[in-house]
């Protein structure tokens, strides 16, 4: 692939660039190990098993889970969420989701609901384009919980703007009512702290390739203590191989088929890089870039920023009279990578009031600089004229 200059502001889709340590770990696994974890008994297979276990340990420590066994791998966050939703719900259950969920949450819930298997409702995190207070969010949930409510699925941070949800408070509420709490941390993991045990999360779904700086092709679920689910995919996992049933114990219970070992190698290194930089520093850096972008964009006539008061790694805007895809295409011509449209977030765009034309999302990462923000704003200024 040809190398060209670009300003990458689509870190909410996937982070770029990846740290050298990450690509090096992937390469090393592929060149010098290559074994399949939990299968053979030769040295490279045992090495692969160790690599997988060490990545489980790193995830468990980073996200405050009880143990490495609480971590199972998937291909991405969407698979993680699907495993938790489909593996937990039964006929007649009621689920609450926020009104800013990504389609990774909305679509499986919608499908189960449309087949008459479950019932669901939404609670408001954004209303008419304005972020709702934490107290109002909790009050709305309290109001909508019924005796049949068995699960709340909620994103920790929106994928279209920097609005966050009060995960700790929702976790408390769920624990006190015996409701399973599933958290989509696609836009939160590696951006700000989350803790499975402290926040009373039953299942935390994370990607390798976004804030945790790893490769695509791997996600994980971190289970709360004692959480057990049905399997949604069955097959070989190197445990109890003579049985027709999947093995009982996590994590292998939820891991049918060969794991994405190169990606897991990189995932582990990505976590190490994030730890070395420090979550506080990452959060502060991204918020500083957000504030700079907000300040500059607000000074450009015809530019509207959505939920500007919520500071984080994602800024959503539109230019009056121009479609979001048109703006994104113009920015691409200037070498600036952002995403227009709907960001696989039907509910969130409805709540934001942008379901007609979508909006433009710029999302920052730890490797972005102030000059990247300035380049974005200069280009937007030119496009808006």
């Amino acid at each position: 692939m040809e190398k060209r200059e670009m300003i990458y502001l689509d870190n909410a889709a996937t982070s770029f660039p990846k740290p050298y340590a990450v690509s090096d770990a992937v390469k090393k696994y592929m060149l010098y190990c290559g074994g399949n974890a939990g299968r053979g008994g030769y040295e490279s297979a045992i090495q692969a098993g160790r690599l997988v276990y060490e990545c489980r340990e790193k995830l468990s420590e980073f996200f405050g889970a009880k143990s490495a066994e609480a971590v199972f791998f998937t291909m991405n966050t969407t698979q993680s969420i699907n495993a938790c939703i489909r593996g937990s719900l039964k006929k007649g259950d009621r689920v609450l989701i926020s009104n800013i969920e990504h389609n990774a949450v909305y679509r499986p819930i919608y499908k189960l609901s449309s087949k008459g298997q479950i019932d669901y409702d939404t609670f408001s995190v954004i209303e008419n384009g304005v972020a709702v207070s934490q107290e109002e969010i909790i009050a709305d949930i309290e109001k909508k919980v019924t005796k049949n409510t068995t699960m709340i699925v909620c994103t920790a941070a929106s994928n279209i703007c920097s609005v966050r949800t009060p995960i700790r408070e929702i976790g408390e509420l769920c624990r006190s009512r015996g409701i399973r709490f599933v958290v989509d941390a696609a836009q939160a993991a590696g951006h700000f702290p989350l803790s499975v045990e402290d926040m009373k999360i039953d299942a935390l779904c994370v990607p390798a390739h976004k804030g945790l700086l790893g490769p695509q092709g791997c996600g994980a679920v971190l289970l709360g203590e004692g959480v057990k689910m049905q399997t949604v995919c069955e097959g070989g996992n190197g445990v109890d191989s003579l049985s027709g049933e999947m093995s009982e114990d996590p994590p292998e219970r939820y891991e049918a088929g060969t794991l994405p070992l190169p990606a897991i190698a990189g995932f582990g290194e990505g976590i190490e890089v994030v730890k070395e930089i420090g979550l506080e520093r990452i959060e502060a850096h991204e918020a500083a870039l957000f504030k700079r972008a907000r300040e500059e964009l607000l000074n450009i006539g015809g530019v509207k920023i959505f939920c500007p008061e919520s500071e984080g790694s994602v800024i959503l805007f539109e230019i009056e009279g121009k479609g979001s895809e048109e703006v994104a295409a113009e920015l691409a011509k200037a070498g600036i990578c952002v995403r227009g449209g709907y960001h696989c977030a039907a509910l969130a765009h409805k709540a934001m009031g942008t379901e007609e034309s979508g909006a433009v999302r710029a999302s920052f990462g730890i490797f972005n600089k102030e000059s990247d923000v300035d380049a974005l704003c200069d280009a937007v200024r030119k496009i808006s004229k």
């Binding site: 008994g41 098993g49 276990y53 489980r56 340990e57 490495a68 066994e69 109890d240 191989s241 292998e252």
Partner: protein
């Protein structure tokens, strides 16, 4: 296998449990190795955690405390 003389083997049902067991032992500076082994339970794949038999009691204690599932202890041949 001369180096396995006086070695005991804990048969464990999964790679994750075997790695966990090895990690727990390493924290106590007890050396161990993991090898795939013939299952004696009839349940399929198994991993053998090889340690000096002199450390077997310590290992049993720590595994019991930490909930590591050992299918069976054997002497290494």
């Amino acid at each position: 296998m001369k180096e396995l003389y006086g070695m005991c083997v804990a048969e464990i049902g999964s790679m994750t449990q075997a790695m966990r067991a090895q990690r727990l032992l390493s924290e106590l500076a007890i050396p161990s190795t993991v090898q795939k082994t013939q299952s004696s339970s009839g349940r399929g794949c198994a991993y053998g955690l090889y340690i000096s038999c002199a450390q077997k009691e310590n290992a049993e204690m720590i595994f019991g405390r930490e909930g590591v599932k050992i299918r069976v202890w054997k002497n290494a041949k």
